[in-house]
Amino acid sequence: MHAETHSHDAHHHEEPGFWQKCIFSTDHKVVGIQYAVTALMFLFAGFSLMLMMRWQLAHPGQPIPFVGKILSHFLGEDMASKEGVMSPDLYNSFGAMHGTIMVFLAIVPLLTGAFGNYVMPLQIGAPDMAFPRLNMMSYMSYFFGGVVMLASFFVPGGAAKSGWTSYSPLATVNDMAHHPNGQTFWLIGMVFLITSSLLGSVNIITTIIQLRAKGLTWMRLPFFVWAQFVTAFLLLLAFPPLEAAGCLQLMDNSFGTSFFLPSGLVISGQKLHVAGGGSPLLWQHLFWFLAHPEVYVLILPAMGIVAEVIANNTRKPLWGYRSLVYASMVLGFLSFVVWAHHMFLTGMGVHIATFFQTTTMMISIPSVIILTALLISLWGGSIRFNTPMLFAVGFLPMFGIGGLTGLPLGFNASDIQLHDSYYVIGHFHYVVAPGTIFAIFAGIYYWYPKATGRMMNEYWGRIHFALSFLFMNLIFMPMFIQGLAGMSRRMYDGGLHYAEQAGVPGLSPFVLSLNKVISYAAFSLAVAQLPFIINFIWSIYYGKKVTSDNPWDATTLEWQTPTPPGHGNFDKEIEVFRGPYEYSVPNHARNFLPQNDPDKAHTPTHEHPVHG
């Protein structure tokens, strides 16, 4: 039942119809759920692309079971043969779109659009976001961008196939015969996605600055809110250069300019008929200027979610709250000056390489501070190993592995061997897949009862965790071995071209056999998500109903609303008296003290919270 907030406005709202309530709603909770559902579907789509690619890698040249013929029917026989064998072009398309969909259509919208939108205003005691209509438009722009991206598969020539990084000149020259081609759609889609993100960031920053409840000072904010705040700044300032680069590449793609095409380019023996004089490196600089802060966008909100779940399930305050806050700000700032570590092999001089190597090493410091603070937070805690906590704790070593494997990539010298190899794939997937995605699962299991009023099934949640944990590691750990052996990424035959032959060194049969291990682990991971999908949908109708508005006995403000929160969120005036993690306060009856509980006996009389 929705609790109606009685406003003292002159006009009373009538119950809105379906379109107003579900499709064109400006309520941040509805927008948040729209983002969540859409992004989860894109997550599934991106994952499916990868499953088909993994089949090709495990069984190169073999028809894909079940879907091979469907692909051939819908995408044409130059993409997939009549029997259902994936062509190299289709593999490359799937690869480029897997990256694009996962990063821009699934993870970022989940972290900022879904969790940011739904949870953050509740956690700061606000009735909604600062700009509710802008919020709705952000979602619409995202949705439309996603449609354009998916439509690109059906354009002549197929979807973009030059990697999610879309390096020129390949991105411009690929499918040049078709106008518009998949790359055109990719670029147009990106413009809509970037617009959505920019508007969303403006909204998030303004909301956090302006709409905090009374008494909610900066250092009393839950770490989740800090993470969203820094992330929004990263998106606000880093996305526009990519938008600029996208405009320039769109001009190259559709209007014959040559911003990124050097003079004298020859394609298949033919001189390219363009003015030339462009710089492929310019694209790389502009792209990575966004894409590096982008990866911190992928991890910071995840750390925020993990922090909330850990604090709640250890029944003690987070260790080093201030360190967490300052580290996330430093991380955000430094993320803008490390980008060219993705470009170590472009022929840059020693001084530049040293500069970026140094800043890259420096950025590991705040990263480690955050991880360590979360880890130490477990010490001495009264830990409840429910499903959100399992995912949150699982996140820690996985992010640790991801981060540590990044170090050899950050050093110029070792990067020479590892750049563009499977090692890189292993590294970044560890951070995002068993890293961020685990945090997202933790967040879903954790906040599900607030949004729906029911708990997800705990038994199947644990199975989901155990199987996902196992298979994620089976998928990505072998990739380090393959990368160190020299296996390149983006090869549709899984490295067969470079297999060891009599007298010719190459990839060993063992390294190539790992392709099968990884692929079958990926298929198993897919199966392991079924309990989650079923659980998610089933629990909406049949999950165990919560008996209180605060089933996890949490301290933060989102648990002080009715369940699910109504229009305007809070049915009482909110004033905050203490920090966000007052658990196990001494001499107190309960082992948690909500932020807005006036309880004078345990309210700090000075600005600094008692703990952390």
């Binding site: 909604d128 700009f131 920019l198 302006q210 250069p241 040559s258 310019l282």
Partner: protein, 257 residues
């Protein structure tokens, strides 16, 4: 449900929500146009000697456009000031001026664009180079007629003289090796010119739409919530002044240097 600080200012920040929002948005726009300007610098200084043109744009038209935008920016601010004084009719009058200036800017811009698309450089088989504006009426399938000049060499095309004797030139199409207009694909200078000014034009159009919408269809709010209406005008004005600022950099960069 009421969202706080929509009209009133929050004490510790001194801002109402939309003002903070628009400044954040403008910060992102600085990064957008900044990235394009830094691309310009990189491409210009990476270009081989003799491949970067100069004096391809009419600086007089550009200067007029600059002044027109400055005027529109000040009429916009005066319109807002009048609104704060309570004078709705003066606000409406000044905003009409703002919109007229903006449309004039667009008009001049479109003549410039038209000129560029109809200005051709023709390289003949015998090595001669002709350069001028195409005369559509007289051009046929066999011959191209332009109003322009014979250029002595490519250097003269890359840095044309300020004044020259215009003559009518007829060239048989079968004599033509290459014929290219001064559109975006001509070289990186025109590419950047069209991209940057094109993006700027899109912002001008967006600005006109917003200013008009607030001035026209949405002006009922002046009666029901004048403070909030004034804030909207202010926020739109901030965006408009920013668009003016961007042009203040585009003009010298492309037209003068």
């Amino acid at each position: 449900m009421n969202i706080p600080y929509t009209v009133d200012r929050r004490e510790d920040t001194g801002l109402y929500n939309a003002k903070l929002g628009v400044w954040l948005f403008l910060a992102s726009e600085v990064m957008l146009f900044g990235a394009l300007f830094s691309s310009y610098i990189l491409l210009r200084f990476g270009a081989d000697v003799g491949t970067w043109p100069r004096h391809w744009l009419d600086y007089k038209l550009g200067a007029v456009n600059t002044i027109i935008l400055i005027v529109s920016s000040v009429t916009n601010v005066i319109a807002w000031a009048n609104l704060k004084l309570g004078s709705f009719s003066k606000y409406r009058a000044y905003q009409v001026l703002t919109m007229v200036c903006a449309l004039t800017f667009l008009g001049i811009k479109s003549t410039e664009y038209y000129g560029k698309f109809h200005h051709f450089t023709i390289i003949c088989k015998d090595g001669r180079i002709a350069d001028g504006h195409i005369q559509k009426a007289e051009t046929t399938a066999d011959k191209v007629v332009i109003d322009g000049r014979w250029a002595p060499d490519m250097a003269s095309i890359m840095d044309p003289p300020a004044k020259f004797e215009e003559q009518k030139i007829e060239i048989e199409r079968k004599e033509i090796v290459e014929m290219h207009n001064y559109g975006p694909s001509r070289n990186n200078f025109t590419g950047l010119y069209f991209t940057l000014t094109g993006l700027h034009v899109l912002h001008i159009i967006g600005g006109i739409i917003v200013i008009f919408a607030i001035w026209g269809p949405l002006n009922g709010m002046w009666k029901t919530d004048p403070a909030r209406y004034t804030n909207r005008v202010e926020v739109a004005g901030l965006f408009w002044s920013f668009v003016d600022m961007v042009w203040l950099f585009i003009f010298p960069t492309f037209y003068l240097l």
